[in-house]
Assembly symmetry: D2
Homo-oligomer: 137 residues x 4
C-alpha cells in the first residue's frame, strides 16, 4: 500500500452538480470515492491494452447434457492449468448450468482461453471480464 | 428443449470467407455454431433491454483490510437475499481479494445491486456481466 | 458557463503514477483535464440512461447501387425531420458510401431512428454514438 | 462484388422465435438481412483487431470560445492530412460546437489521432466509431 496523496481538480459548478447527482443514484456516499473509481477503471483499461497480467472471470451458460462438452471444458482448463484459479458451478435448471471460471494471466492469454471455451458447441452464451490483480490500485 | 429448425441465409462469397477465417481464429470448428452464438447474443441483449429475468455475475476486487467493508458486502447481499445464488472468493495477495457474486433477477434489479456494491469504499474495481437463464436459448 | 469550483481527491501515490502515465500516452497535457473528461463522460452516460435530450451521430456504410435504398434513407430521415441536423456523405469507392447523420432528440428516439436505418437492406455496417448537447458540461 | 452463396444453419425453434421478435422490433423486414448484419459486424470487429485499414468517425463536442482550441484542432488534422477525408461542423448553441471528423487509416492510427484530439482542453466529450471501408462486405 502506497501513501495517500491529495490532488485537486477544477470543474464547472454545474458539471459538479450533475456528477454528484449521478453518482448518488449509483450509491456513492462521497465524490472522492467515485472519482477514484473512474481513475482506477482507466488504469485497468490500460493494463488490458498493454497486455499486462490481469485477472479474468469468464461467465458462461451451457447445456451439460451436450455429449462430451464437460470433458472439453475440463480439458481446455487443464491445458491452461496455471491460469485457472477457481471455477464455480451453479445449476440453473435441469439442462442449463452457469459456470464462472476465474483466471490469471496476460490479458491476451486470458482472452484466448475464453474464446476457445466460448466457441465450444453447447456453450450457449458467455462473456469475459478483465480486471486488476489489485496491486498499485 | 425445442425442436431444431433449419434456416438459410444468402451471403456474398467474400464476406463468408472473411467470416470463416475470423471465427476459426476464435476457435470455432463450424460456421453454424458461430452464427448460432451471434443469434443467441442478440436474444440475450434483448432480454436485458426488456428488463426480463437474467443471470448476472459481478466480478470485483477489494481490499479486505478496509474496516467494515466485509460487513457491508455481506449486508448488501443479504438485503437482496433471494437474488444471490452463490459467491466465490479468491485471495489474490495479502491485501486483495477477488469475489464473484452470482445473481438472478430482473436486469434492472441485478444492475442496481451491482452498482450498490461497486460504490462501496474499498471496492477497487469491478464489472457486471448479464447473461441468460438458458431457457429458450 | 457556470463558475469554476475546485475540488480535491485523495489517491494512493502508486495509482496516481499509473494514471499519469496512462493519460500521457493518450496525449493529455495535464491531469485535471483528464479527470474532468472522466467526470463528463459519466454525466453523459447518465443523460443517455435517463433518456434526456442528447446529440447522436450515426455512422453507416452502404451500397448506393442497392435499388430504392437512397429513397428509403431519405424517407427515414424526413419522417424524423426535426431530429436530423445534418448529414455528410463520403464516396469510399465505386459502390460504397459512408454517411454520417447528425441528430438531436431524446436518447430513445435517436436510438430508434438509428435502428430503423441500420436495418435497411443495403446498409452494410453502422454504429451510433450518443453525446451531449454541451450545456452544463 | 462477389457472388451470392447460400448457407444454412440449424437452430432451436424457440430461439428462432425470440430472434425474429427481437429483430422485428429493431425494424428488420427479414431474418436473412439481420443475420448478415451480425456476420458483417463480426468481420469488421476482426478488421479493427487485426489493425487493418478502416474508416473512423470521431464525434466531439467542444467550446469554440476556448482560446487556441480551433487552431489546435486544425493542426492535429493537418498533421494527419492524408487520414482526414472530411469534417462536418454543427453549431449547437452559442458556446458549443459538434464536429464529426471522418478518417481513413489503420485502426491503430485512427485511434491514436482520435485520442490526441479528445485530450485537448476544451473538447468536452467525444467518441470514435470504427467501421469498414465497405469492400468484401
Amino acid at each position: 500500500m502506497s501513501t495517500l496523496i491529495r490532488t485537486g481538480i477544477s470543474l464547472e459548478s454545474d458539471l459538479l452538480k450533475r456528477f454528484d447527482r449521478a453518482i448518488q443514484k449509483k450509491g456513492y456516499k462521497n465524490r472522492s470515492e467515485a472519482i477514484r473509481d473512474l481513475v482506477r477503471d482507466y488504469a485497468v483499461a490500460e493494463d488490458v491494452e498493454e497486455d499486462r497480467s490481469v485477472v479474468g472471470t469468464l461467465t458462461m451458460v451451457y447445456d451439460h447434457h451436450r455429449p462430451k462438452l464437460t470433458e472439453q471444458l475440463i480439458e481446455a482448463q487443464h491445458h491452461a492449468e496455471n491460469m485457472v484459479l477457481a471455477a464455480t458451478h451453479v445449476h440453473l435448471d435441469h439442462h442449463n448450468c452457469l459456470e464462472v471460471i476465474i483466471m490469471r494471466g496476460r490479458s491476451s492469454e486470458v482472452s484466448h482461453l475464453a474464446d476457445r471455451i466460448l466457441s465450444l458447441r453447447g456453450v450457449k452464451h458467455g462473456k469475459l471480464v478483465l480486471t486488476t490483480q489489485g496491486k498499485d490500485l
